[in-house]
Every structure is written in C-alpha cells, then in structure tokens.
C-alpha cells in the first residue's frame, strides 16, 4: 500500500478535499439558504411582535423585539463571509498565542472553523462562539490538555457553558471527523532527510545508488529554508484554502519552494524519478500542483497584517453581520439548555404513546404489542 493510497483513506481526503469550483458552489448554496432563513426568521419575529404589541409587553418580548432590525434585511455575500472568516481565523491565532497553545492546536482549530463554515453561515452561528469551541476541541484532538474552567477563565468574559453550548453543533458541522492532517510534521521529515542528504551518503529512493549531485552549500540552505517554510505553514497555509485543495505533502513542498525554490525543485526532482513516460508525466504534474499551491500560499505572506483600509472594511462587515444575524440562533446557550432539559418531546408524541400503552393493556398481551419496524 503506497503512501498515496494511505492518504486516500483519511477523512481529510474523503470528506474535506474540494476543487475550487465545488468549494465555491458549496459556499454559495450555504450562503443563500442561510440568508433565506434569516429573512424568514425576522419575518416570523415581526409577526409575533405585531401580535403581542396589543397586549402588555412582557420583558422577553421587549428583549426579542429590540434585536430585530427595521426594514429589509441586508445579508452578507459569500465574499464578505470569507473575509470575516479569515479575520476570525487571525483572531483564533491571536487567542491561541494568548493561551500559549502549540501551533498544532491553533492550526487544527482554524481548520475546524474553516470546515464548519463551509456548510454553515456566519449569519446563523457567530464565529466568536464557534472559535472558542473549535480551539477547545483542538486542544483535545491534539492531545494538549486544557481544563475547561481554566480555558474559559483565560479567554476572559467566557463561561464554560459558552464553550460547550456549540459543542455538538460544531461536531456535526465537522461531520464527526476530528482528524486534521497538517504539513508541520511533513516538513520536519523533509528537513530531516535533506540534512541527512547533506551530511552523508544515503540513497534518495529505494534501490538507487547513494551518490547524488548536491546543490552548493546545501547544509546552510536547508537550515534557512526550514525556518522560512515553517513560517509559511504557520500562517499562510492556515489563512488560505490550501488545506482543501492540496495534500499536506504538497503544501509542505510548496512552502519549501517559497523558502528556497532551487532547493525544493532539486529535492522533488530527486524524489520523483523519471525512468519512463508515466513517471515523467507524474513528476511534471506534481511540480505543477506544488507550483499552484505555492501561488495560493503567496497570496497571504506570513508577516502581512490587514491594512488600515481592510481593517475599516472588516469593522463595517462586522457591523453588517450584527444586523443580519439569525435572531433565532443568537442565544446558543439558551437553546442548548432548552434542548438538554428535554422539552423537545411534544405533546402529540406523549399522547400517542399513552394510547398505545392502553391499547396493549386492553389486549392483555403479556409481552406487549408487536415491535414496529421503523
């Protein structure tokens, strides 16, 4: 079973890999549905308000009506949502730095957020809620224990319930797949082998002679490339969509080629032998793919910060988001509580069950009625 086949068994490949067009289509669908839902929810709320306005307004009504914006709801577009998600991903990195969690945890949390917002809209669930839960989940999946109460305290202005409220929501949004394959360890592996190649005579591929021509001054270049590539992986790889379009190995190679393109090209050519036509074709294709990935990574440089104009736009977007949120989904903690207390079973079901029970008692069947097939 080759390395590639083993990667194909991962959930990251099976569920979370998309072509750019399909990813965009998915986001558009999500946005459209969410916008329609927001409008419908606002409509319902307005009707409720007009109905209750005649009566004495209860405290709850006042609170609810105050959240309803006037006029036609102006919803976010897909691009606007993406910008906001990117902004909140940066926020997540900052929060992670504040909590002193390792890079893996931050990276996993960001992937959770990104994956979640493919099938959910910011208008439905606000990212400030989701990102806390995502970060908390990431500490678990990356085996970095963080006590929940401590976690909530360290974030500030957060209760443990706030973190847990969207727990199942996020899990479902992630389709119950918590495994994220990162390129960090891959980079360590590549650097490790490059250093070994620089030092001594080891064979690059199985069954090949060990002597290969090496680029000049390779040892120092590997060291320099390591740091730069790591920076790309820590920021650019997380803030762009590369995880959805490329495999960790390709992302790692792309970051390496951004750090030292000559070295990376030499390495890849060594690794992908061109013995025959198909192998040559494969090498060409890998190089192309890595090149495209590198282009994508370059779009967000590691040191780049949002410019003043962008910041202004973002704050405007945040305000816009505030106006077009789904009023039914704002209070996640309350919703979670209501769900947990189990008033979900409505009266009809209870009545039906009671009737069935009586019926079976009448028939005096010792073992109850026949089991119904669903």
């Amino acid at each position: 079973m080759s390395e590639d086949e083993r990667y194909r068994t991962s959930t990251q490949f099976r569920l979370w890999s998309f072509t750019p067009s399909s990813l965009h289509a998915l986001r558009e669908t999500t946005n459209l549905i969410a916008a329609n839902r927001v409008r419908a929810a606002v409509q319902r709320l307005r009707e409720a308000r007009t109905a209750s306005s005649a009566e004495t307004s209860e405290a709850e009504n006042v609170r609810a009506t105050s959240a309803v914006p006037e006029g036609e709801v102006d919803c976010l577009t897909v691009d606007e949502e993406l910008k906001l998600v990117a902004f909140y991903c940066r926020q997540t990195i900052q929060l992670g730095d504040h909590l002193k969690v390792p890079t893996d945890v931050k990276a996993t949390a960001i992937q959770y957020i990104k994956r979640f917002y493919i099938t959910n809209s910011l208008m439905t669930y606000h990212p400030t809620d989701i990102l806390k839960t995502a970060l908390f989940f990431a500490t678990k999946t990356e085996n970095f224990y963080f006590r929940l109460t401590k976690f909530a305290d360290a974030i500030g202005k957060t209760e443990p319930e706030d973190v847990l409220a969207s727990e199942f929501l996020l899990t479902q949004g992630l389709r119950f797949t918590f495994d994220v394959r990162h390129p960090f360890r891959a980079l360590e592996g590549a650097i490790m082998e490059l250093q070994a190649l620089a030092h001594g005579n080891i064979s690059v591929l199985p069954g090949e002679a060990s002597a290969v021509e090496r680029p000049a001054n390779i040892e120092k270049r590997v060291k320099d490339a390591h740091g730069k590539a790591r920076d790309y992986l820590k920021t650019s790889a997380l803030l762009t969509d590369v995880y959805f379009h490329f495999t960790p190995s390709q992302i790692m190679m792309a970051s390496l080629s951004l750090a030292d393109s000559e070295l990376a090209d030499w390495y890849m050519v060594q690794k992908l032998s061109a013995n025959d036509e198909t192998a040559l074709e494969m090498r060409k294709k890998v190089l192309q793919t890595v090149g495209r990935c590198a282009d994508m990574l370059k779009a967000v440089e590691p040191s780049s910060e949002p410019s003043a104009a962008e910041k202004k736009e973002l704050s405007a977007l945040a305000k816009k988001l505030k106006r077009c949120r789904n009023p039914e989904k704002i209070d996640l903690v309350g919703l979670q509580k209501a769900k947990r207390e189990g008033d979900v079973v409505d009266e009809k079901v209870i009545k039906k069950r009671k009737l069935e029970r009586e019926q079976s008692a009448k028939e005096e069947d010792l073992f109850g009625p026949e089991i119904k097939r669903a």
Binding site: R185, M192, S203, P248
Partner: protein
C-alpha cells in the same frame, strides 16, 4: 407429554401392585418385578418362581399366552418397558447388522446402510403385527445369508475391545513401573550418599591429607555417580516405549503431520507498507531530537526515535502524488449539479437544506 408421564407414575397403581397375584408393595417391601423379553409383561419375582420353576408355562397375563421360561426373566433396566424393549431390539439387530464404517467405499453408502438398519429397527419396535413379522423375516434372512461376515465382524469387534483393554493395562503397568523405578532410584541415591560420607569420614580420620581436597574429591564422585545414573535411566524408558509400540497396532489411525510453525503475528494483515519514496534510515541528525536521545526521561518510558522517524518521513511523502483537482472532481459531480432552489418559506428552506446542502450521505439536521 411430560405431565402425562408424571401423572402415570403417581396415579398408576400397577407400579406397586403385581398384575398377577395383586400383592402390594405396602405389604411386601421387597417386592421385585421381573420381565421376560418374549412379551414384556411384568410380574413379581414370587409369581415367576411359583409359575415357572417347574418348566416352561404360558404367560399368566390375560390374552397373552406366550410360552415363557424362567431363564428368560430379568429385572427391567428402564422403568419404561417400551424403552426396555427398544433397547433389546437394538441389541439384537445390532448383533446382526454389525458392518463397520471402513467396509464402505463412500460416506453416502455408509449412511444409506445406517438408515436401512434404523428403518428395520423402527419397524420392529413401532410397527403393527404385520410389519413386525416382515421386518423379523428380513432380519432372519439377512442373518442366514451373511453368517460368515457377521461372525467375522463380531470377532473383529471383540478383538478391538480386547486390544483396547490390553493397551490400557499396559499403560497402567508402565506407569506403575515408572513409579517403582523412581522410588528405587531415590533409595539408591540415599544409600550412595551415606556410603560416600562414611568413606570421607574414614579417610579424614585415617589419612594425612588436606581436608578440603578430600571433600572436593567426594563431591566429584557424587556428581559422577548421579550423571551415570541419569544416563542409565534414559535407556530403559526409551526401550519401554518401543516395546509398547511393537505390541500394539491400532488400525485406522491417520498419519500424523507435524504442525507448521506458526508465523509471527502481522498486525497489518499482509499489507506491504514499505515506503516507495524514501529509504528510512536508522538514524537521522536532528538538532531538536539530540536532547531526547540522551534524556532518560524520554527514553525510559519506551520512546522510540525510530517511530518518530517513520512517522515524519511517511507524512512528508504521503499524498504527494494525490491530485485533489482531478480525483475529487468526479466525486463532486452531484452536489455541483444542484442549483440552489428559490425558496420562500422556512419549511421549504428546511426541506431544501436536507436535500442540497449535504452532498453524499451526510444528513445534517439543525441541532437546535
């Protein structure tokens, strides 16, 4: 059926009363019932003595009238006389139809034969008078026609029983011999020890040699004797085993094959996981790992650097040749084809969500 049986046992007075002389177990606690396999009518032993001591007489049970002899009476083994009778019939038929499995060429033939015999037994046990006579006739005919074969098989069966008995006896005898040998040996050893000790003491008393050398010599002698005894002991056991083999030839034993040595367990079930894009080295230079290599806190717990090497190298090249652009395109055909429908009401949105929003088999309802 069970209940019927119980009530019969409890209510039926015939269990305690002789049907011939009507004497009662209450009056005669030593009352014993006997039967004769001619007609299976039971009567008490007193009646048997009284009626049949002076020679053969007809059965005293009304409407039976079979001539019985005293010699044929015996105590019923089973309380249910129908079973007693069936067992007797089986014994009789089995003595005639005593063919063996290895006489048949195929299993099917053997099974057919068994079925035929079973049918005959059933006819005799359960059939009415007519079928019973026919079956008995068949049995008699077969017995006459195959006299030689039947006798031969009976002889073989007896011989086998005899062989089995002999083998068991030989085994018991061998075990007894072994026990005796062990006892004898222990005694000899003890006597030897005493003798050697005595001689050492004598030499210490009489000769003018260093005590330590004498003790060492004595030790050597003891060791030599023990090893000699051990060598002796091995031989008789071997000869014993071969003797037993020579006396016994058990037929029909299958040739024994030494079981193939078990292969080491492979957790991957035969998957070939040798890397294709790199050669895993036993050792890599890595400044980050330099400390861990020498740190007992790392290594004492069983931390294996090789595991780390294997994992990082695998991740470096796992998926390098996977092109998501190509491979995912055909997978995503269906969701791409779905065009977001123009929906107005919330219910329609709900319906649309469950249909369009989640491609493949992912069903996602609203959590809250």
């Amino acid at each position: 059926m069970f209940r019927n049986g119980v009530s019969k046992l409890v209510d039926n007075p015939s269990d305690d009363i002789c049907p011939v002389c009507k004497s009662n177990r209450y009056l005669n606690p030593s009352l014993q019932f006997l039967i004769n396999p001619e007609c299976y009518h039971k009567m008490c032993s007193t009646c048997v003595d009284r009626i049949f001591t002076s020679g053969p007489a007809p059965c005293p049970v009304p409407h039976c009238g079979k001539t019985l002899r005293k010699r044929g009476f015996h105590k019923a083994f089973f309380a249910d006389l129908a079973i007693e009778r069936e067992v007797d019939v089986r014994k009789r038929v089995g003595a005639v139809f005593n063919r063996r499995h290895d006489e048949f060429e195929t299993l099917l033939d053997w099974n057919n034969y068994l079925e035929e015999v079973e049918g005959l037994v059933f006819d005799i046990v359960e059939g009415d008078v007519k079928t019973r006579t026919i079956a008995e006739e068949k049995l008699r005919m077969y017995k006459e026609a195959n006299k030689g074969v039947i006798e031969e098989n009976t002889r073989v069966g007896l011989e086998e029983g005899e062989l089995e008995r002999r083998r068991e006896k030989a085994e018991r005898e061998a075990a007894r011999q072994r026990r005796l040998a062990v006892l004898r040996e222990e005694e000899e050893e003890k006597a030897d020890m005493l003798k050697t000790r005595q001689s050492v003491l004598d030499r210490l008393a009489n000769e003018d040699v260093d005590a330590n050398t004498i003790a060492a010599q004595a030790q050597k002698i003891i060791l030599k004797k023990t090893s000699a005894r051990r060598a002796l002991k091995d031989i008789p056991i071997q000869s014993n085993g071969s003797a037993m083999d020579a006396g016994l030839t058990i037929r029909g034993l299958k040739k024994k094959e030494a079981p193939a040595p078990e292969k080491p367990y492979d957790p991957f079930g035969g998957l070939d996981l040798t890397p294709a894009r790199y050669v895993l080295q036993d050792h890599y230079e890595n400044e980050w790992l330099g400390g861990a290599k020498k740190d007992t806190r790392h290594m004492a717990g069983g931390y294996s650097l090789q595991e780390y090497y294997a994992r990082t190298m695998f991740e470096a090249f796992s998926g390098l040749g996977v092109f998501i652009e190509d491979e995912v395109t055909d997978r995503n055909q269906q969701p791409q084809a779905v065009v977001a429908p123009a929906v107005e009401t919330a219910a329609a949105v709900q319906a649309a969500v469950s249909k369009t929003k989640f491609e493949r088999n992912m069903e996602l309802d609203d959590v809250f």
